[in-house]
Symmetry: C2
Subunit: 164 residues, 2 copies
DNA sequence: CGGAATAAGTTGACGCTTCAAGCGCTTCTA
DNA sequence: TAGAAGCGCTTGAAGCGTCAACTTATTCCG
């Protein structure tokens, strides 16, 4: 790891330590919700029928199913989301309620203003482009890794089982 | 917020959701420590005498004093760090023990390999340069915000006091 | 000098995330 | 068609972070 890489690494660590903390703190203060919860609600609001199966929601929101289940319970308690037992077997859907949609409409602009202030106001258009490219590549690797990891694990489990 | 910015934002959120999770998970599994704890120990190890006052450690590690106090307690329980009441008044120092240093020597390479795999292996040298530049600018803004906030608060408090 | 403000650090409670275990539908497959 | 395996989801406990309150030492200032 050369000098430039090390210094880039320190900066990256700084960003993913400070930025989520800043966003969470602001959303918590001004809207009583987490950044993750906000992301979940945004994902729901972008669907035509404002609903999504938990399994898919987990992928979109980059979270585990377990985490999502807890989060949906909290959002349900606040009346922003409702669980719906889907018609097909074990599927569970999360529906954004009207109250949840209104909350989102009220919160969105506040949050976006903060994002703009903390991120895009300090970057030139070329830097934005570079940011998108770099994070895109890192994420591809991360998601790839997960995919490979799961497949690998399953394959391993299967072969282990066969060998017994 | 235009289209390119929005897409860059989604990628950035993905990165700071997935990357810390991946790093924490690996460090937890293979070394029984958090990424933040690792960072704290690295910071200590870089000092000539392997010690740092908590207040300064907090700045270096991008964490609150409270968080640090808890973390140091945990590290102390594992024998990797020792608290030392400094000679000057209320200062408290954190000392990296020999055991802690050895642990760090054993863990460092494992972690760095993962960092390389997840981040630098997927980036070209130009992208590394861009990453450093962009995150550097964002962090400057974030720290500035804090700095301004504190200075602002103090100035406000002072002027309020004077006006009474 | 003496009291107020401040700075450094600690603590405990509360909320969120993770991890492991478990439950109940499906879908294979023998 | 019955049993096994897998999937989608839930749950409870344990660990970590944050916040607010508190303690103690220090500095400022009249």
């Amino acid at each position: 790891m050369n000098h430039r890489e090390w210094s880039a690494w320190l900066q990256l660590v700084g960003t993913f330590t400070l930025l989520p903390a800043a966003l969470d703190s602001q959303l918590q203060r001004e809207a009583g919700m987490t950044h993750f919860e906000f992301g979940v609600m945004v994902a729901l609001s972008r669907q035509p029928d404002r609903r999504l199966q938990l399994k898919d929601l987990a992928v979109v929101a980059n979270g585990s199913l377990s985490r999502l289940s807890h989060v949906i319970s909290r959002l349900e308690r606040r009346g922003w989301v409702r669980r719906t037992s889907g018609t097909k077997g074990r599927a569970t859907y999360a529906d954004l309620t009207d109250k949840g949609f209104q909350k989102l409409m009220a919160t969105g602009p506040i949050h976006l203003r903060e994002v703009r202030r903390l991120v895009f106001d300090v970057l030139t258009p070329e830097e934005v482009k570079a940011l998108k490219q770099v994070t895109g590549r890192i994420n591809a690797g991360l998601l790839d890794g997960i995919g490979l990891g799961e497949l690998g694990r399953r394959a391993r489990d299967r072969s282990r089982r066969q060998s017994c």
